[in-house]
Chain length 381, copies 3
């Protein structure tokens, strides 16, 4: 095994097999594969590994939709505090949202990708898509793409903006500010919704997918138009740069779009979920068991109109065990387009963070996660 | 390329590639393939082609479920006029419909294939299935095959009758009369719900599918019984001729069952959708953008209990972009069993009509549509 | 054909082809395949066959989830009597059920696998899983695994307990007692929810699956963890014996868990469904046509969160024609894990019972059923 595929970093006693599996993944991926893998059990970091050129344990990359986990954690905290009520209409908090037949949509439904506002009819410019408040203002005026109550679809670039607007209207602070104050700063997590200038030196640009000709053909066969629902949801009905490049623009990293604009290391990803369910650094878990159960409870099941295949969602969070059924049913988290994945399993106490720099094929979810999760689960189960 | 596979007719400058693709389709289909292809952009006819033996640009054939587009257009016009309210109970307009637990079903739900009345427990005779008012009277008395609110399924032969009865009860005119007066006659469209005697000479009988032995085996493996939900929905629980032959009976063409009894050319199909969204012949679009958006909005998503696979529907109209995602998300239309297909994409202004005489394998939707739509989209996008 | 694969027993004139197909199935299965096949038409037993070592026409085996048919039949009788109202809240009958957001769940929803209580967070011991009242008490306190109203999933081991508790609260008798008094005893059916000591001598233990290496690999690939929703639903999050062995424990046979604890012969299975829809032994059908239609009406359609694939359910009963579309749409029944299958088709008057001793691959539903049903249907249609 070459040096390039020998993971650096540490594992706790008993987790040697996880390091081996990560090494095997790196060998199979080959090329310039660069990734980080971190796991906690019961609030203790038991795996802290990285592999590949340029990357270190404290390197930061764009984590795309793994950002959403941070957004949902803020929502969960505010629900836990009694500040937000899941069974209130969104329009109660945000009157403009009532337009075009959306007056009865509940916060609970908004969170579970049921509001039908997956993108803007006319697309967003780069500056617009970077700024959650601009996104929210635009979508408030819009007709849902499906009849509320009949369907759901992944609000890929905008769910954080929609939830964030409710947060802002209710508390006078942005979702990003809440995240910084209540989650990131207290634990000094490397997980940013809005990357400070002074951490920029640790940021590694996202690298594009390198599909084989066969993979390229497969992607082409599944291609959809910019004006399809999936095209709109990924803002391809605009002149903005493609989703895949967004984290490479400073304006996106600075504003920290809460759907896809987060920047983190695997330590940051896993650390956030560990703090959510476990005592970490002497602090009690951020979420009470009841809050975890409420947000992990399945809310949407079936054909996702944007993803164009079967999906399940909790309150925003992906219900990870439907994809990786070796995990406990209440496992909640999120992955990102380049292949990042993060979650917590409250049953076993496992928290997981995985990050890769170059887009994997076929994109979210990274196929590595299944192997790495099975290796971890074999130790913790 | 033989003469038989060289399309006749005209295309506007820039659309030569569409003629070429249609020629390629004809060559691939071979045999006695006979079809018409017409497209409008912004109300202007840009493609007007036909190919194959016996057929001409003004030939008429049975268009099966493409008829439904005419039915839904009438419903949309009456909603736009304020005559029908989508959120009223069907039983408000049609009291007998309230029987057997159907009292709360909304017009909106009826239109989106949610009422559970996909056919008659005891089947329809040929004369009955030809006559929408007879169909409606029978179904009003019936228990839904599924619990209202829990599911949907394609009301293949009867949705037009059910919607039509609401129209008749409300306006004192049949859906067919409204279509003739407001849509067909003003534009002199070759799209008939009720073919006048004097146009019969242009009608070409529908020809049956000619499956290969392999295709025959595939069809046999998927065969369902006459008393299954799919069997009932295609009226196979009766002594009537099979769906495939219905347009070949004068009584069906004369009565113009608004679900499957329409007769049209591709010019008629595309022309109707052009008139719906664009200025045509100096007349303003039949539908306002808000009406289009309301009827194209997705209302049913998931497993269609009749089709036995994933489907999506708007308000009656098929949400075409879920099948052909190169198109805009609001594309609305319908296809028919022999392979006809028609729609409008309000985003690009494209209207499409395709008609083939002989049933293609495996039936709706015609595989040609994907190729032809891609060729058109490459020009208009 | 060896003696072992020549079915014993009788068929009525005209059903010889069914015996032949059963013989062909036995030959294909080979090994120690032991099974029973019984059918009624219009209340008359027309097929009464068995094949294989040790088994006779009156042998009894664990029928696993075919037990549920008995539970639903009791519910249907009590609804028919006006004792239970499908549109009442479960909590009306059973106040403790209201806990954790379940106060609005209707009896209709409970029956159609929508309540989200597919198992216990902490699993059940063998003694607990044998006893429906213990199961019910535990689940009443629990939070649903999904948001009520958004999804459904197979309540594999507990649906009978949940329905049974409503029965007990309402009538002061257990579901098992109702079944004995109203169904089993009057017809002297060999179908027991609680096997009396004096019938034990006819019980054959259930034998485990014998997968080939390829089948073993397929099962391993689909394996899910004990804490996944599917794992919880099959009580694998406990130290109890696996589902596959439950009928081999006397406590399970004695208590007669109404979800999976039934013991029957194919005569008992088919006889129960015959009594449900037909005059048998001079008694009128147990269920009126309206009750049959209400319980066969489809209530849940889509992705089953436990089975992890597409399913449909009526009011508890499996809507058999979605799986075997040669049958009539209102066919209602249930199958069991080892491969038993039983149903009635009110359209043709066919009642069907099939039982096999050794688990087949891949478990429910037995692939034999399709062949045997087609053979029967060819005679009765």
């Amino acid at each position: 095994m070459s040096t390039e595929t020998s993971p650096q970093g540490t594992v706790a006693a008993g987790f040697e097999s996880v390091r081996e599996e990560f090494a095997a993944v790196a060998a199979d991926e080959g090329g310039d594969y660069a990734a980080q893998l971190v796991a906690y059990v019961a609030g203790q970091r038991v795996v802290d590994l990285w592999v590949g050129p340029e990357i270190g344990g404290d390197s930061l990359t764009g984590v795309f939709s793994s950002s959403k986990g941070a957004a949902y954690l803020v929502a969960a905290l505010l629900v836990q505090d009694g500040v937000l009520d899941l069974d209130r209409q969104v329009s109660h908090y945000w009157p403009e949202f009532a337009a075009e037949g959306k007056q009865d949509i509940l916060l609970r439904e908004l969170l579970s990708h049921r509001a039908g506002l997956v993108g803007a009819d006319s697309g967003f410019s780069l500056e617009e898509i970077a700024d959650d408040r601009v996104i929210a203002a635009r979508l408030a005026a819009q007709r849902p793409y499906w009849r509320p109550g009949t369907a759901f679809g992944y609000h890929a670039l905008v769910i954080g903006a929609l939830v964030g607007e409710v947060v802002w209207r209710t508390t006078g602070k942005t979702l990003q500010e809440h995240f910084e104050e209540r989650v990131r700063a207290p634990y000094d997590l490397d997980f940013y919704l809005g990357l400070p200038e002074d951490r920029e030196s640790r940021f590694l640009t996202t690298l594009p997918m390198r599909p084989t000709p066969e993979q390229q053909a497969e992607l082409a066969a599944a291609a959809v138009g910019p004006e399809s629902l999936s095209g709109i949801a990924s803002n391809r009905n605009s002149d903005a740069p493609p989703l895949e490049e967004l984290p490479n623009f400073r304006v996106v990293r600075e504003k920290g779009n809460a759907s896809v604009g987060g920047v983190a290391s695997a330590r940051g990803l896993a650390g956030m979920y560990a703090a959510a369910i476990s005592e970490v650094d002497g602090r009690p878990p951020l979420l009470k068991p009841d809050t975890v159960a409420a947000f992990a409870q399945i809310h949407s099941v079936g054909y996702d109109l944007v993803i164009r295949q079967h999906k399940t969602y909790g309150l925003g969070f992906a219900t990870i065990a439907d994809t990786y059924p070796v995990l406990g049913q209440a496992t909640f988290g999120h992955g990102g387009a380049a292949g990042s994945q993060a979650f917590a399993d409250p049953r076993s106490g496992l928290s997981y963070g995985y990050n890769r720099r170059r887009f994997g094929f076929p994109g979210l979810p990274a196929v590595q996660t299944e192997r790495l999760v099975k290796a971890l689960q074999a130790v913790v189960a």
